[in-house]
């Protein structure tokens, strides 16, 4: 009943009420810490597992409850110990990417929370996070793509590897969607996702497809597109491709 009440208020109320309900979670945690005497045991209480599950579920249901889901996850990320967060890394990262896509106006606030979760995933043997990130590289939301690019840069920094080394085992997985069809057969959002991702790869010297063919196709498409975002994506792709081997040598 208590969890239902907190989740209900965070999910459906806005402003002061949602924040008040959110404050109840650290209170429960500090009482549990006093009771059990350490962070780890307090975090292992099933109530926190229940909060995690329910906040993630809020992000996948009714659009009205999505901001509440984000609020709840960000509260848990600030509050809970690293080991507990690491166990919940995949649902939380998925939830935060979902929030970046669907909750308007949270990008600046959600990015540090996302980066905190990525900070916990330093282990080079953990391919689950890399695989999740790779599957979101061509996401139609620009906010999600930017978060994913940042995540790869952070992981490369932590593991002292290049982004190419990180992505090498996953290149086949990434390459397939890019070759799904010709660029012009894709919707505009997908075209921009492909262009941004190819730009990201070029910046990190990852060869993924024939850049000359892609650029020729993009230059035809941009002539017919009135979209400012598409023009900017095109210019950014051109800028990144100028030093690529294929362009220099052609």
């Amino acid at each position: 009943v208590f969890v239902d009440a907190i989740i209900g208020v965070i999910a459906l109320e806005s402003g002061v009420h949602a924040l008040a309900a959110q404050r109840a979670i650290p209170m429960i945690y500090s009482v549990a810490q006093i009771f059990y005497g350490n962070e780890g045991k307090a975090a292992s209480l099933p109530i926190f597992e229940e909060f995690a599950l329910r906040f993630c579920a809020l992000l996948h249901n009714d659009p009205a409850t999505k901001p509440g889901g984000y609020l709840g996850i960000s509260c848990l990320v600030r509050l809970m110990p690293d080991d507990w967060l690491y166990e919940h890394r995949l649902p939380f990262l998925r939830g935060l990417l979902q929030a970046l896509q669907e909750v308007p106006g949270i990008y600046d606030e959600a990015l540090p929370t996302f980066a905190t979760m990525i900070n916990l995933c330093k282990s080079p043997d953990d391919t689950s996070v890399l695989s999740l990130l790779a599957s979101s590289l061509l996401h139609i939301s620009k906010a999600v793509r930017k978060a994913v690019y940042l995540a790869f840069e952070l992981l490369a920094q932590f593991s002292l590897k290049s982004i190419y080394e990180l992505l090498a085992p996953l290149l086949e997985q990434i390459r397939n969607p890019i070759f799904e069809g010709m660029l012009k057969t894709q919707p505009t959002e997908k075209q921009m996702a492909i262009m941004d991702t190819v730009k990201f790869f070029l910046q990190h010297r990852i060869k993924i497809l024939n850049i000359v063919e892609l650029i020729e196709e993009v230059l035809v498409l941009v002539g017919n597109s009135p979209s400012i975002e598409f023009t900017i994506s095109t210019l950014e792709l051109l800028s990144a491709s100028v030093y690529s081997e294929e362009i220099v040598s052609c």
Binding site: V242, I247, C250
Partner: protein
């Protein structure tokens, strides 16, 4: 493809949208590496949309002058010094 890239960018330097101009500026600066190897007619044709806007005072605008500033700053060798005389009305 380098010719096509170079043909596309200069016009975007004078676009009404500031973000497009900023991206075009970065791309234009990077293209310095291959501009010397482009055929002269490609370069002239790419600059024409910018210069044509300067012919009449009523098509002159701040984005146009800013774009021209970038071109003159990074590609002074593309301009004939006598060209300046044509635009002294500015």
């Amino acid at each position: 493809v380098r010719c096509k890239i170079f043909s596309f960018v200069p016009e975007k330097l004078i676009d009404a949208n500031e973000s497009v101009r900023a991206s075009a500026n970065i791309t234009m600066q990077k293209m310095k590496v291959f501009v010397n190897n482009l055929p002269q007619d490609v370069v002239s044709n790419s600059l024409r949309p910018v210069l044509m806007r300067l012919v009449r005072w009523d098509t002159t605008s701040l984005p146009l002058l800013q774009g021209l500033t970038i071109l003159l700053e990074h590609y002074p060798f593309l301009f004939n010094p006598t060209l300046g005389g044509k635009y002294d009305f500015i």
